[in-house]
């Protein structure tokens, strides 16, 4: 059962998985986020994109999860990135310095 505070919608396209994350990504839903993402992180033959258009809130808890996804995908040599990042969230990505790690590698 998903907590309605944070919802996930996964779309499998050709060689690409897009996960649309909507709601608030905070400490309360961190373990839910990790358990949804873990199996997807393993799929090294597919490009993984998180669509953040409907993400309303993130803090260092969520950014920490993104760091672990970045590292897991890097160790599998598998592309990962984010798209449609709202400006308030992009500001936090830029401040913390995670932005350059969230650009999917072009050789997808």
């Amino acid at each position: 059962m998903q907590n309605e505070k944070l919802t996930f919608q996964t779309e499998n396209l050709d060689g690409l998985t897009v996960v649309r994350i909507a709601g608030e990504l905070d400490l309360e839903v961190a373990s839910q986020m990790r358990s949804v993402m873990e199996p997807l992180m393993e799929l090294s033959d597919r490009k993984l994109i998180l669509n953040l258009r409907d993400l309303k809130y993130i803090d260092s808890t969520g950014i920490g999860i993104l760091i672990s996804i970045v590292k897991a995908r890097h160790s599998r040599n598998a592309p990962f990135g984010v798209e449609e990042v709202p400006s308030t969230i992009q500001k936090l990505f830029d401040m913390t310095g995670i932005t350059p790690f969230l650009a999917a590698s072009p050789n997808a």
């Binding site: 905070d26 890097h74 790690f101």
Partner: protein
């Protein structure tokens, strides 16, 4: 809203109460006519302070309380004090702030980001540790036309 009014909220130090704190913060800051962006900044900073208390202040078998007080200072400053009566902050983590700038994928980690964001998003951050920890965050509203 002005003249040194204080609103205090006491909640269990658990993750599912941190959004209640954010909602209260939103209500007070919007009433003080902080901008959308300023309110978003404060939401993150206050949540980081609450997260620290939720994660580190208390033994998991005996969760304690989190007290958050919002004080309106003058007509353009909001001070938010997040207090717990658990293990003091300096005993559970170093006070270093850290970002990912200039680091390689192998080097990046999330430690220090929360404290960094508090300092970057607020005008003042003070951390007092005595019997528990008290994090005092202050933000001044940018000057704008008052109606």
């Amino acid at each position: 809203m002005r003249n040194d009014g204080t609103v205090t909220l006491t909640v269990p130090a658990k993750a599912e109460f941190v959004d209640i704190i954010r909602l209260t913060l939103y209500g007070i800051a919007a009433k003080m006519k902080f901008s959308f962006e300023e309110i978003e900044d404060m939401k993150v900073a206050v949540s980081e302070a609450c997260n620290n208390a939720v994660l580190h202040a208390y033994d998991h078998s005996q969760p304690g309380q989190l007290e958050v007080s919002f004080t309106v200072m003058g007509d353009d400053r909001l001070q938010i004090a997040v207090s717990d009566s658990g293990i003091s902050f300096e005993q559970v983590s170093d006070r270093s702030t850290s970002t990912l700038h200039g680091k390689s994928i192998e080097e990046i980690q999330s430690g220090g980001l929360g404290l960094y964001l508090m300092q970057a998003l607020m005008d003042e951050v003070e951390i007092r540790s005595n019997q528990g920890t008290r994090v005092i965050l202050t933000k001044r509203r940018l000057a704008q036309e008052t109606v």
